[in-house]
Symmetry: C2
Subunit: 225 residues, 2 copies
């Protein structure tokens, strides 16, 4: 959802968008199928999926076999570093995006990070993004030229999930193509979101607060409720 | 060769070493086989190889089908950004190492970069390593604690290739286990280095300047000479 709105924000700024997704051993690989639909619907010029197996390094419920927490309150979700935190994930993603940007001759790197709903993730803060911009300036052949500095753009950084739902509507983003759930189930060939994991909880609250209905199918009787 | 000496430098500082290699679609995958021997000989506690397919992003003679340049003079090698430069490679490698360091509870990240012989690579300079240290401080859950800052250590940064050969001898590193050539050939099951690519040229000059003989087998009649 955040990536789809992020792509639309870049298009609204008249950028030619080259979309980048990561197959990093996440358990919710439904996300990658959704990314292809989102990139096409968002009129990206190209879309690449980079294989990156972080499972061998361990350390996260999204790539390990640790259970994803269910049905937690908003306070619990906002508390501390979530177990779903993938170590240095956004650093790795931005680094690879930086490499591709250099190959493409692009200077603007968009990332759909959000500081409000994920306050426990250190790599979703403005401070982190600014440090990455500084690094990019000295890390690359291109960035060394004064007039050709890389910019990391995070248009969703200060938005709530409800703001993001509203922004999607304004920009004409079809949120029915997106995927959020950490623990989806396939029923009769259709992906159903669980409605109970942290990601689903934040998404559903966002739709509720924006006064909108989520177009995605959910399990009829959410697990662990 | 640089990685092997780097590992030995970390051991000399009494660190418990967890070694990390990258299978990033490099054409010289002989390097990965060598890394296993080097990690074992260097008494690393563990050794992981992370799959990371950068080929899909293009942009380098090491992962594309562009020809690796041969038989260039030292001046030519030192001039500008080499075509063998992989965009943002060390940024990506350090980011993944940072993630693993966080999982392991490690704070010291060793990298065998060298500013002298690779002056054309922007991500082999002290300025880059310092910017990465600053990024690491804000990118991770662990690095946020004041007393637990990450350190990027590059003991080979200011050494010439001859210095590195001498240091290998002092530390008892078997350079016969290492691999350097961008364009090796298998003859009767034995990997032979070409002796003519930039990497071989720098290595052979290093041995010559140090007054040592390279234990590696080379092609009897080097290509393009």
């Amino acid at each position: 959802m955040d990536s789809a709105v992020c792509l639309a924000e870049a298009m609204a700024e008249s950028f030619e968008v080259h979309a980048l997704s990561f197959d990093y051993g996440q358990r919710h690989d439904v996300e990658l199928a959704a990314s292809k639909l989102v990139a096409r619907a968002g009129a990206a010029v190209s879309h690449r999926v980079v294989q990156l197996d972080l499972r061998s390094l361990g350390g996260s419920a999204l790539t390990d076999s640790i259970d994803v927490p269910m049905s937690r309150s908003e306070d619990e979700i906002g508390e501390g570093i979530p177990v779903t935190y993938v170590p240095a994930r956004n650093t790795v993603f931005l680094s690879i995006a930086l490499g591709w940007a250099e190959v493409l001759g692009a200077r603007d790197i968009y990332i759909g990070v959000n500081a409000l709903d994920y306050s426990g993730y250190p790599d979703c803060r403005r401070e982190f993004l600014e440090a990455f911009e500084r690094l990019a300036g000295v890390a690359t052949a291109a960035g060394a030229e004064e007039e050709a500095r890389f910019r990391v753009r995070a248009p969703l950084l200060e938005l709530s999930k409800a703001d993001i739902v509203r922004r999607a509507n304004e920009l004409g983003v079809d949120l029915g193509l997106t995927h959020t759930c950490y623990s989806p189930e396939l029923i009769d060939g259709v992906v159903h979101s669980c409605g109970a994991c942290d990601a689903c909880s934040l998404r559903l609250r966002g739709f509720a607060e924006a006064g909108e209905t989520d177009p995605l199918p959910y399990l009829p009787a959410p697990k662990n409720r």
